[in-house]
Symmetry: D2
Subunit: 148 residues, 4 copies
């Protein structure tokens, strides 16, 4: 038997990705440690890409290898998640230009908005230099972008 991890689902241009809070995510004050939401947001961005058809392994091992790095991120923490909470990360990609991508993400517990993140990401080469997103990637992503 082989269970396949979910890559989440699209509802229009919004991508939903479910996450459960485990021991590793919490700290001694009883809530999810602030850095761990960045792990959650990255899992959701990677799952968005996988739902669209990109895998990091293939991008990294291709003839023109690329990966992604965050250039800036702004986070607002409104409420706290706790052990066993079921969360949903909602991700939209705003736009892509050259090597840069703008992403909006929200972490929900049911209807409650817990954390928001607005990030600017960059395509980078293995040497860490910014690198234009390949045109096939832009094409595949374009139908999911909020703005053109």
């Amino acid at each position: 038997m082989d269970l396949i991890p979910t890559a989440g689902e699209f509802k229009g241009r919004e991508h939903y990705y479910p996450i459960r809070v485990f021991y590793e995510d919490t700290d001694f004050t009883g809530i999810v440690y602030y850095a761990n939401y960045l792990r959650f947001f990255e899992r959701a961005r990677s799952s968005f890409f996988r739902s669209v058809g990109f895998k990091h392994a293939e991008l990294w091992n291709s003839e023109e290898p690329i990966a992604f790095a965050i250039r800036s991120i702004h986070l607002e923490y409104m409420k706290s998640a706790k052990i066993d909470d079921d969360l949903n990360i909602v991700t939209t990609y705003d736009k892509i230009k050259g090597a840069r991508l703008w992403v909006n993400q929200s972490c929900y517990r049911g209807d409650e908005l817990l954390v928001t993140a607005f990030s600017e990401a960059a395509c980078i080469s293995p040497e860490g230099k910014p690198k234009r997103a390949p045109s096939w990637m832009i094409n595949q992503l374009s139908q999911y972008l909020l703005t053109d």
Copy 2:
């Protein structure tokens, strides 16, 4: 829309839990960092419990609060997982006696066995003292134990 994170599935007394490898799990040598398998194994043990009907939050906030701590663990790393790999953690509980539980876990990528873990866990009170597993918990777990 609200997606529910999976708690895995039982096949007989074996519990299967799917995990995908993300950026956060890897290190600069290109493989999953050795400590991160312990995070994977804990997610699987927690999901085993949830599948049986226990949530950590309820156990911790009950009148006789308990949590779990690992007393010893033996890990064998045979092969390495990489970014984007889809893994399955297979968990069996061997037996429970007093405050102690014995657990066997294996991390697979398809048919390949990557890592095994044999752990002894303990029920503990909020003060960190060993505490007998409640009888209702033992009853609910008993049908999944490999030995009596």
Copy 3:
């Protein structure tokens, strides 16, 4: 023999805290994973407090228990750190008002500025409610604040 971990040093109102990059901090692209700078920044804020005379354990176990939670953070990632890099986190506290604290932090490798973080933190009770910083804490911190 017992070595004492450093809590860093003040130079005027700037607090310096040294961090080395280990395996755990990097990802498969060869650089420090973006969430891990938040761990570095928190270590530096905690070490700032310890240098001033506060320990989290004492604050949390006092008669009026408090802890700290980040309400918002803005991060700019300019350059990447790699395995074995020696970093310095420079922290200044801007001001404190009621339950809120404003903090400026920069991560340097020698003279190179790698990452900046501007955060708003809050004093919270164990129930997660905002709680005025105790007056003795404000008094001890006041000489280190950039603005009054």
Copy 4:
């Protein structure tokens, strides 16, 4: 001003490395999460190597690149560390043979022994294959080995 992170100190063939417990290391039960001791032990092994004269970055970027991977580890958790605790990791290298190294580590809080780890590590190539430790490395390490 530039503070240099400590690489710990040798006392005979025992290497001591100090670690403070931060928010990131704890979980909601108030103690250090079990996987995080593996992070502590790795920092200590890396610091042992740096004290002897090896840096991972240099080994990885050399003409015959090598890194280290753990093949097996046995951990015993006797007592729990908490927020703000000052710990010392004591590391000895038992022996080296071919691509394999045997390491003994203990985590102390003052005189209290909290956790022990006995590991077998392997030198690996970037492709993950076992690779004999270079003779210059064995030479430099030999004076610190417990057995020949």
